[in-house]
Amino acid sequence: MPLQGNLRDFSTTQILNLINLAGKTGTLVIFEGVRTNEKDAIGNIRMAAGDERARVAFKAGKLVQAQTQTQDGNLVTVLNKASKLTDEQARIIRERAKNTADKALALLLINANYVSQKDIVGSIQQYTLDIVYTLLTWGEGPFRFEDNLLPGPDRILVPIDLENVIIEGARRIREIEQLNSHLPNLDMALRFPPNPREKFKGIHLSVEEWRVVSYVNPRNTVRQIARANNMSDIEIRRIVYGLEQAGLVEVVRPAVPVDGPRQPTGNTGRLPPPPKTQVQETVVRKLIDRIRSL
């Protein structure tokens, strides 16, 4: 009987632990859950395995390779993601070296001085880790461990100790839980505090923080700001948390604009359409009086 179940009952962290302790070799495959009409032993709806979401390979209890539906783990993709190859270089290599196996391609790239062996090992390792850290946050999904199944011989396998992965994964899950409980509802809005706890000026912000700060307006929900900037829920939560800790923003209930809520723009990275600047004359007159009095 292969190791199988659902992540909601047996988490990715627990699976990694088991693989580590048992020194297993094989591939963990995680699927989309498809609801069935049946119930499981504890009365939850049984989820059948749907499309494949990810697969992670292990050799003698060490992590060696990971890929998801969208991240195929091809060497060119990996090196491109790690900025070891530019988009243009990646495009050319993909074109010219179409059916070349990763191992052969690695040799070619090293010989041509595109990258070093160290670059290749480091990039693959990082790529694998990024995927596995993401899997660790999945709370649901049927899984199956295929004993002794490993990626084809053309793939480069870089062994990674699971202990550190488990520790770092646990840290990240804790962080995510904290961030989620800090800002459970992304439909809240942000505003600048009326009375900043600390005084600030000439602040240094990361580009990402800056993008968020520029959108601060009681009419924009956090979710809309995230969409406009192509940020994931966890990224926006992390940034809002930091900005709030620094006293730069406050989380408030969104103000309902007169002309209806502003449309989020989806994933295009485009900005939402500018709001109709409905500043009234009285507001401008007030500003004038105030500045005169300074």
Binding site: R238, G242, A246, R290
Partner: protein
């Protein structure tokens, strides 16, 4: 709770006086800090590029606050301009009147901002207290600024001068409202 927040943007080439301008009028003290962003988040942030941003505030009353944003100096952060420009009431373009080598850049910034938003703006001919400052008349020609656009003398570390620039901008905003109201009606 109905806080009305309005913003104006102060832009211009590096060293034109944006920081000075905002500090002179803002009620928020000048504190040059690397903001500490809590533990885990901080580690992420530290490794990234940071952008110096000027940020000023003028409280009018319980319901109304004016924010002044200075654009980041580095040209590679241009992409933020559009974000900043969104919803602004108006903007000030600062020019260092003593540095003709920056005039072309100032003009290009002006045109870029103008393209983002059809809001009123004024040009502040800064550092007019220095002896080598170009005169307003010469600047208007050098920067090819149309007659309808306000080009104002400015000394950014002099509060009265800064007040004047902001007031002139606000007057332009008022006029603009009158015009659009009368064309609409």
């Amino acid at each position: 709770m109905a806080m009305n927040q309005v913003k104006m943007v102060v832009t211009g080439p590096f060293s034109s006086g944006k920081t000075e301008f905002i500090s002179s009028i803002s009620e928020i003290d000048v504190v040059k800090t690397e903001r500490t962003i809590s533990s885990d988040a901080e580690r992420e942030v530290k490794s990234q590029t940071t952008v110096a941003m000027d940020f000023g505030r003028i409280t009018v009353d319980d319901d109304l606050v004016l924010y002044l944003f200075g654009t980041p100096g580095q040209r590679r952060f241009d992409f933020m301009w559009e974000i900043l420009a969104e919803g602004m009431l108006g903007f000030v373009v600062m020019v260092d009147s003593t540095k003709p080598e920056t005039f072309r850049e100032a003009k290009s910034i002006l045109e870029t901002f103008r393209a983002y938003a059809p809001t009123p703006f004024v040009v502040a001919a800064n550092k007019q207290d220095l002896t080598d400052a170009w005169s307003i008349e010469d600047l208007r020609i050098a920067l090819r600024i149309e007659d309808g656009i306000k080009l104002l003398p400015c000394v950014a570390n002099d509060k009265e001068s800064v007040k004047n620039v902001l007031l002139e901008l606000l007057y332009s905003i008022l006029e603009e409202m009158d015009t659009s109201a009368s064309t609409a009606g």
